[in-house]
Amino acid sequence: MIQILGISSQALFGQLLLGLINGAFYALLSLGLAVIFGMLNIVNFAHGALYMVGAFCAYFLLNWFGIGYWPALLIAPLVVGLFGVIIERTMLQRLAGLDHLYGLLLTFGVALIVQGVFQYQYGSSGLPYEIPDSLKGGRNLGFMYLPNYRAWVVIFSLVVCLATWYVIEKTKLGAYLRAATENPTIVRAFGVNVPLMITLTYGFGVALAALAGVLAAPINQVRPLMGADFIIVVFAVVVIGGMGSIMGSILTGFLLGLIEGLTKVFYPEASNTVVFVIMAIVLLIKPAGLFGRTA
């Protein structure tokens, strides 16, 4: 076994892979937050709760309807996205014109309700969700053993993130979206249905969270509070990256996951707090965030 700085390569690369997977979830979640923030100007506090609902959706689909992982990867985000559309249409829309902090408080309330309901029903313990058959096992790369499912999560998340970036930055639909972010009134005057766009954007953002939830289900167990603490780290990631840039959110997410993984190898005591420490440093050096435009 190869040794690097007194640490076996299996331990080092294993933790790096775990870090990369966490980074993939950070990227998917902070991407959703950034997209929602761009259009609605709110921080979606319910994001962690909806990530959890995504994982539970996959669990219900399997255990109640016998629908497996692959269809769940599509159905769960759709269901949660629809739920998001309902939240936006019935509640968030009424807050237009008020201080943005009210949106934050409202979504925090929604998060408490959703998490409370699931905790009431399922307690705090985790429910198992098996890795799909086609992704079981793994391969030996010489310097480490690579489980197939983990490789899949990293690659698939990366593809989804890049596709989102492409749609927003390079297509006509994305151009409308960016224009509506800059100046909704003028875009409306051109005949674009901006309120519908806002609703769908919120739905899409939370669908990304749900997708991350489904991907996480076989790795971390399905727990009612799986998103509660996780989302706070994602907020720190968002502060570090700044929500102005789509690519910035993706890069920051993966980067911080990697740093967290490295910390787990070399100084495990700090692995819980390293992201927050980096946030503090970034606030001191570049308050607007690494990719932020305005302070």
Binding site: H100, L112, N272
Partner: protein, 322 residues
């Protein structure tokens, strides 16, 4: 967030001052006779939370800064006072003062970091910093992790008042609360408080008038942190323990909820909100997670249709400033 219109006329100012004095007297009398009707331990807890909510409201209601991390001041101060009273054996008044100063010190560092961002970013930064403090409390040896610090001795206040006697403790806690409340009231109505409100209403204009907005914001942040710490330090002596619950993010959320229910930017709102929420928690305690669901529902309802809160609504109805 909630704009409280301040009339320029001195006569109306004087009448506001009188209304507030009357309301304060009513509150003090009600709290003084409350142990005749309600369980003192419950009341003391509610009073500590009322102070916590008032401290939080100082920042949100009068500077417009929504902190989502006030649990870090409340929680760490309760650890400090429990540790100082139990391990160092200091008398309660010194334990409370030292813990309050400790919370203020944390406030200086976290405040200097978080006021570098505004609005929702400020909320996210404070939440992340408080989560960092939470992990620190989880791992630091002196907090005893999941067990917390238990069996904190209450001792004698100033060597005179035996705090293990329940009614003595009650009136000491009430005294601390009323003094802190008057202090907050003084801050809000001072020239310093006027600058804070100016920053809340229009920060660029306040800066252009020559006020160093960041310094004012930091000062308000540290005051708010110290007062939240005072609440936590007192609470640790009341419940004789300090635990992770007080540093957890849900505690930060509770401050927001209490202020929202009672009335944002009102002086008495946080007190009313704290009593309502603590009463609800006690009432629903046996139903497990129902408390969380109820809190979430209250959040949603308050934001959608009841943004003035209880006291704000009353003040609006009678056209008074409370």
């Amino acid at each position: 967030m909630a704009a409280v219109a301040h009339s320029p006329s001195a006569a109306r100012d004087a009448s506001h001052r009188r209304d507030e004095m009357i309301a304060f007297a009513i509150m003090a009398i009600l709290l003084a006779i409350a142990p005749l009707f309600a369980y003192p331990v419950f009341l003391m807890q509610a009073i500590c939370f009322a102070l916590y909510a008032c401290a939080f409201n100082l920042l949100l209601g009068y500077v417009g800064l929504l902190s989502f991390g006030h649990a870090m001041f409340m929680g760490s101060a309760s650890y400090f006072s429990a540790h100082i009273a139990k391990v160092w054996g200091w008398p309660p008044e010194l334990a409370i003062i030292a813990a309050t100063l400790g919370a203020a010190a944390i406030g200086v560092v976290t405040g200097a970091l978080s006021i570098r961002r505004q609005g929702i970013y400020f909320a996210m930064v404070t939440l992340a910093l408080s989560q960092m403090i939470y992990f620190f409390c989880l791992q630091a040896p002196f907090t005893h992790g999941e067990d917390g610090i238990q069996g904190v001795p209450q001792g004698r206040m100033f060597g005179l008042f035996d705090l293990s006697h329940q009614m003595t403790l009650y009136f000491v806690v009430l005294g601390i609360f009323l003094l802190a409340f008057l202090f907050i009231h003084r801050i809000i109505n001072s020239p310093f408080g006027d600058v804070l409100k100016a920053i809340r209403e229009n920060e660029p204009r306040a800066i252009s008038l020559g006020y160093k907005a960041d310094q004012y914001k930091l000062a308000a942040f540290v005051l708010s942190a110290a007062l939240a710490g005072l609440a936590g330090a007192t609470k640790a002596l009341v419940s004789q323990n300090a635990s992770l619950t007080d540093v957890h993010w849900s505690m930060s959320g509770e401050a927001v909820l209490m202020v929202l229910v009672g009335g944002l930017g009102t002086i008495f709102g946080p007190v009313v909100g704290a009593f309502v929420i603590i009463a609800m928690q006690n009432y629903l305690a046996s139903y497990g997670q129902l408390v969380t669901i109820m809190q979430g529902l209250i959040f949603v309802v308050c934001v959608l249709v009841f943004r003035r809160g209880i006291v704000g609504e009353i003040a609006h109805r009678f056209n008074k400033s409370l």
